[in-house]
């Protein structure tokens, strides 16, 4: 971070969101009876599993192409819930991973679920699979799996790219119920076109709180809401301020290189975008050159390798 001029504001903004989340988590630990609005796609989960139980066909889960990060971890959290339900009905499951670390985490989470449900013997190590870390090899393999095993329910949750269309249409062609979500906005419309239920954007992060009602998750969800409201408020304020300032006549202009030195113009004119308060807040003035320059380190002499060096 650069703190000079208005540079510190962004940091404070993020710290504020962080504070919201932490505060709400601590609050929710006391009382987790919080309202969360209905999310259609998630209510469909049980229906989907029920259907595949009747048909005796497997449930397919794909945590996307992403590396091990919040998105894939979140996807696995939802899959843990799905697996829990599936385990109760002894419905076969398939988890197809494209990243080794994600695969490792998936292995452990899914096994834990079966253990917690008291049926570790039902857990088949090969039901969680690593296919390929190569996008389209993965796509080919997954659609092959869908077609051969005739999955009755498919869950595509996580970071999906171009392959989303391949998965969705293939699953659609075997008549599977599909619940899908991609954090990549560019893929969401394709899921909307081809899937039965789609979690849009943020709903994906709300899912685990919605399903499990864990205080930590619920609290953090509320914190996120506060964060979004902070953003909305900032936007509203900024828009109003900018709108009025842009109607003001002015004679001044600012030199952005010289830390916003004021320069007089000969004629009055409307305020320019760059002269609004909001622009200044979001674009700190250039820092001036160092007052006391740093001294230089003497150049490094690269030593010659001893004769032992190969």
């Amino acid at each position: 971070m650069q703190y000079y001029d208005t540079g510190w504001i962004s940091t404070v903004f993020v710290l504020l969101i962080v504070a919201f989340v932490l505060f709400n988590i601590s609050r929710a630990k006391k009382n987790s009876e919080v309202f969360i609005r209905r999310i259609a796609g998630l209510n469909a989960i049980d229906e989907a599993i029920g259907r595949s139980t009747e048909m005796g066909r497997p449930v397919l889960m794909v945590p996307g192409l992403g590396d091990l990060n919040a998105i894939s971890v979140q996807a696995l959290n939802i899959f843990a819930y799905i697996t829990r339900t599936a385990a109760r009905f002894a419905t076969p499951i398939r988890v197809c991973c494209s990243q080794p670390p994600v695969y490792a985490v998936a292995q452990e989470i899914i096994r834990d679920v079966y253990v917690q449900e008291g049926c570790p013997e039902k857990y088949d190590t090969d039901s969680v699979r690593f296919l390929s870390d190569r996008q389209f090899a993965f796509a080919a393999a997954v659609s092959g799996t869908i077609l051969r095993e005739q999955t009755a329910a498919t869950f595509f949750l996580g970071e999906f790219y171009a392959e989303s269309m391949i998965f969705a249409e293939t699953a659609n062609s075997v008549g599977a119920i599909q619940v899908a979500s991609s954090t990549e906005n560019t893929q969401t419309p394709f899921f909307i076109a081809a899937c039965d239920y789609v979690l849009i954007g943020d709903e994906f992060y709300a899912a685990s709180a919605y399903l499990t009602r864990q205080p930590v998750l619920v609290g953090s969800l509320l914190g996120q809401d506060w964060g979004k409201m902070l953003i909305m408020a900032t936007l509203a304020l900024g828009i109003l301020l900018t709108s009025f300032e842009r109607t003001k006549l002015t004679e001044d202009t600012y030199d952005f290189e010289k830390a916003g030195e004021v320069v007089k113009l000969d004629a009055t004119r409307l305020t320019q975008p760059k002269e609004t308060t909001m622009y200044h807040i979001f674009n700190p003035y250039q820092a001036l050159p160092l007052a006391t320059p740093r001294e230089k380190r003497p150049p490094v002499v690269t030593p010659v390798a001893p004769s032992g060096g190969q």
Partner: protein, 310 residues
């Protein structure tokens, strides 16, 4: 800086480094110690475990958090000497980025074997048990072995080749390539790359069928989706745009300042883009961004166990 393990910028010798070939002892020692600690961890009491993992996660995260919070040195040159304590820390941090930046790649790479191992295990088991489709498993394993041999063969051959010869081979026509190069090129460029492209282009078919099936005036949402998609698609076609705009020009009689110019296809598309698509996506991204931030916070502070199913 010479004594700073994490600032691997300076090449002057220090306790932490040594020229190639002289530090095998140190390397072996470090590995032994590491494995010893690992074995020690296996006998760690259960209640302590989660603190170990949380500790690792926290420390690794902390580095980047500090990098963010500590003021970044302003116009720093590589041979500058810090002027004070704060700058010393910030210099040290920005040097250490070199090291931390690489860590997760190395770990992910080391875990890759895990994934490939599980893939191979499944298919070799199929072959041994002569299960359904075991022949295809043979193809899979075969292809894998072939490309590994060809790939490493090429790499090793070119590694031990003198630059001039390599350059000469680089100038050759593909038909005149030596075998080692042909074999690798055939498997990688001839098959793998082409299959990538093929699978990628399959999407076009699916998009067509999905659009035909899904883009129907069933609900308000579907209709909106359909209408905008059609408009934007048309605006991508130079010919359509041309004739559409000709039509508009009939209304405006070619007056560039006429209001009706807004009906030009490109203007409509731009309008949709800037007034609906861009802000819509932005809003989703704000949501996702806050969600990811909160999740990162939870994971970093160990508030949520990956796969928070307990």
């Amino acid at each position: 800086m010479g004594w700073n393990l994490l600032a691997q910028t300076a090449t002057e010798p220090s306790f932490f480094n040594g020229p190639n070939g002289t530090i095998w002892g140190w390397i072996a020692g470090t590995m032994l110690v590491g494995f010893a600690i690992l074995i020690g961890l296996l006998y760690m009491p259960a209640q302590g475990r989660k603190y170990v993992i949380a500790g690792f996660t926290f420390v690794c995260g902390l580095f980047y958090v500090l990098l963010w919070l500590v003021p970044t040195p302003h116009d720093r040159n590589p041979d500058d000497v810090p002027r004070g304590k704060v700058e010393e820390i910030s210099f040290w941090l920005s040097d250490a980025v070199n090291v931390f930046g690489g860590l997760s790649n190395i770990l992910v790479a080391m875990l890759l074997l895990l994934g490939v191992f599980s893939l191979a295990r499944i298919h070799i088991a199929k072959i041994i048990k002569q299960q359904k489709d075991w022949v295809f498993s043979v193809c899979l394993i075969g292809a894998m072995v072939l490309i590994i041999i060809a790939g490493y063969n090429k790499w090793l051959t070119e590694l031990n080749m003198d630059p001039a010869q390599l350059e000469a081979i680089g100038k050759l026509e593909p038909n005149a390539w030596p075998f080692y190069k042909k074999s690798q090129d055939f498997l990688f460029d001839g098959l793998l790359q082409n299959m990538d492209a093929a699978m990628f282009s399959v999407i076009a078919f699916y998009i067509l069928s999905a659009a035909y099936r899904a883009f129907r005036v069933r609900s308000v949402e579907a209709t909106i989706l359909l209408a905008t998609a059609l408009l934007v698609m048309m605006s991508l076609l130079g010919l359509v745009t041309l004739y559409w705009n000709m039509g508009v020009d009939l209304i405006t009689r070619g007056d560039p300042a006429s209001f009706w110019n807004n009906l030009k296809l490109k203007e409509i598309a731009d309008f949709i883009g800037s007034s609906f698509r861009a802000p819509g996506l932005r809003a989703i991204d704000f949501g996702i961004g806050v969600g990811a931030l909160a999740m990162a916070l939870r994971l970093w502070l160990g508030l949520e166990r990956a796969g928070g199913s307990n």
